[in-house]
């Protein structure tokens, strides 16, 4: 398979995964799109050999997370456009509040929450992706859970 086809395959497979993760970390659509584009460009530059699909996805997520960290580092303020104005939350009496609470978390906690609860990674795997100790990831998850406890207990009760 040539590189062009390979890229097309990877884009089809992971563009949404990378975009969601970047959006979860940054909360800014434009910056998240740039992070996804940069990630695939980095792939084209490095052309890494992947052991399997898991390795492939983790590598791409790691590059995207690094890109997001760089963006966060340079931010003086949060994005002016509200994410939930672009992607409205389901009108089910609670989703919007939960999402607002998640988006209000610090970026490192949002990253851990997304990779754990959405992508299903363990704290060890998230640590490898974000360049953090697994204990630090667990700590982020714990603090995020504390902040979101009301919403989580409501969901558990459903």
């Amino acid at each position: 398979m040539n590189h062009s086809n390979r890229l097309e395959e990877l884009v089809g497979k992971y563009e949404n995964t990378l975009f969601r993760a970047s959006l979860a970390i940054l909360g800014d659509v434009q910056e998240a799109e740039d992070a996804v584009q940069e990630t695939f460009l980095r792939y084209l530059e490095k052309r890494p050999e992947f052991r399997d699909g898991g390795h492939e996805k983790a590598w791409l997520l790691k590059v995207a997370a690094n890109r997001c960290k760089s963006v966060l580092r340079g931010w003086k303020r949060h994005p002016a456009v509200e994410l939930l104005d672009i992607y409205p939350a389901p009108d089910d009496g609670g989703s919007r509040e939960l999402l607002e609470a998640i988006l209000a978390l610090p970026a490192n906690q949002r990253a851990a929450v997304h990779l754990h609860y959405y992508e299903g990674y363990t704290s060890e795997e998230i640590g490898a992706i974000l360049g953090q100790r697994p204990g630090t990831v667990r700590s982020h998850l714990s603090r995020a859970r504390d902040a979101l406890r009301r919403y989580l207990s409501e969901e558990e009760g459903e």
Partner: protein, 430 residues
């Protein structure tokens, strides 16, 4: 989190982005996000150029015309602009971006020099070095480090060292004049893909190093010859691939030699921090006169003993206290922790407090911390570790030892002869 998953399932890339991604190519010049800010960047560069010229005429002289950021983004070498060393006039360099500092409501933009890094190709040479005979040395505090570099605001705003754990030492000649200083910064997990750097400054010479890399690129930045090299390698953490990008520069200016080495999982970040350091030091230098040698001790306490020479100590020949067993730093992780008073690690140059361990095998220049297996928090030798501090919630079936604060699962035997403390204690509770 069902609602979160439902919401995220509905988030998809736009058709425009999808098309853009499919058409990506590996260009010589990457279409970095700057491209979309092209016009704005050009205008900004013009404004920045004027502002920067006012705050820094030396560097402003070398700026590319205002359209530069439109054409080339950060991390984007344009070899055509590489300037041969020794040319009479500094040639213009492409910028590596800019950053802003706001003070008292006034925002100033600072332009970053673009640096071309020679590829070392993985080759390296190990060297030995030491501080000179008769030199005195002491650890630097955070205040010392800030004073040396120009203040806390310089560390945070100009060098972007905010959040880095800083440590270091300085040495003076026997006559009290400044010899040099080494500063380490670590962000995040030291055993993994942490961002970390080493900054060194020495009077009148380039700072000695224990590893030299061939293949450096030389360039003239504002009249200063800057040597730069890079190494990129892949490592594995928990069997996951991690790329480390190391960027290093060294240069001599205004009577001082500098070396700065930055390692990060993000090459753009590594290069930005190097560019910031180069800009700051060429612009403002350092202030070693703000460091006092008070409290410094002889770097080689065995000097004057006829059985020893200056250089790497031989603990079997001239140790001040013959009752102290030889201290092999490479066995530091294995008790007993018996570093003699005033011991300086010959590998990394760190002065090790008496009786403590030092992880010289890694040459990380700081004592081995202990890592809690439950929460991953690092804590120092001899200190109790409480999970109230790290915030990790205890599982319902977990006990916390009231003597040392360590959390252990129910039913597990807990002994205070564990590595993290050495009290003779055994809790019946566990």
């Amino acid at each position: 989190m069902k609602r979160y998953r439902t919401f995220m399932d509905g988030v998809r890339v736009s058709d425009t982005l999808h098309q853009r991604l499919r058409e990506l190519k590996n260009p010589g010049k990457r279409p970095v996000p700057w491209a979309k800010y092209g016009t704005m960047a050009a205008a900004l560069a013009l404004v920045c150029g004027v502002t920067f010229m006012m705050v820094n005429p030396a560097l402003a002289k070398t700026r590319q015309p205002a359209s530069a950021p439109e054409n080339v983004g950060p991390g984007e070498p344009d070899i055509a602009t590489a300037e041969p060393v020794g040319s009479a006039e500094p040639a213009p360099h492409i910028l590596a971006g800019s950053y802003e500092v706001t003070r008292d409501g006034v925002t100033t933009s600072y332009l970053l020099p673009y640096i071309i890094y020679g590829d070392t190709g993985g080759a390296e040479t190990t060297l030995d070095w030491d501080v000179p005979p008769g030199a005195v040395k002491r650890e630097l505090t955070g205040e010392d480090i800030a004073a040396l570099l120009g203040g806390e605001d310089v560390l945070a705003d100009h060098l972007a060292w905010d959040g880095y754990q800083l440590s270091g030492w300085a040495a003076w000649y026997g006559d009290g004049s400044f010899w040099g200083a080494y500063i380490n910064g670590v962000l995040g997990y030291a055993g993994g893909a942490a961002d970390q750097f080493e900054f060194a400054v020495t009077a009148g010479q380039l700072p000695p190093t224990c590893i030299a890399y061939p293949g450096s690129a030389e360039q003239n930045i504002s009249g200063v010859i800057v040597t730069a090299d890079k190494r990129d390698w892949e490592t594995h953490i928990f069997d996951w691939p991690t790329y480390i990008h190391q960027r290093r520069v060294s240069f001599l200016t205004d009577g001082y030699g500098y070396r700065f080495e930055m390692s990060s999982g993000d090459p753009d970040l590594a290069e930005e921090l190097v560019s910031r350091l180069v800009r700051q030091v060429i612009d403002s230098g350092v202030a070693p006169d703000r460091l006092s040698s008070e409290g410094a001790v002889l770097a080689h306490p065995w000097e004057g003993d006829p059985n020893t020479g200056v250089g790497e100590p031989n603990w079997n020949d001239g140790v001040p206290d013959q009752d102290t067993p030889a201290y092999d730093p490479r066995e530091a992780a294995d008790p007993p922790y018996n570093a003699p008073a005033g011991y300086t690690c010959p590998t990394c140059g760190e002065t090790i407090p008496a009786g403590t361990a030092h992880d010289c095998a890694m040459c990380d220049s700081y004592p081995l911390p202990h890592i809690c297996e439950i929460c991953g928090e690092a804590y120092p030798e001899g200190a109790a570790h409480s999970h109230e501090a790290c915030g990790y919630p205890l599982a319902p079936d977990t006990h916390v030892c009231e003597v040392c604060g360590q959390a252990v699962p129910v039913g597990m035997e807990h002994s205070h002869q564990e590595d993290h403390h050495r009290e003779e204690h055994h809790s019946e509770r566990h």
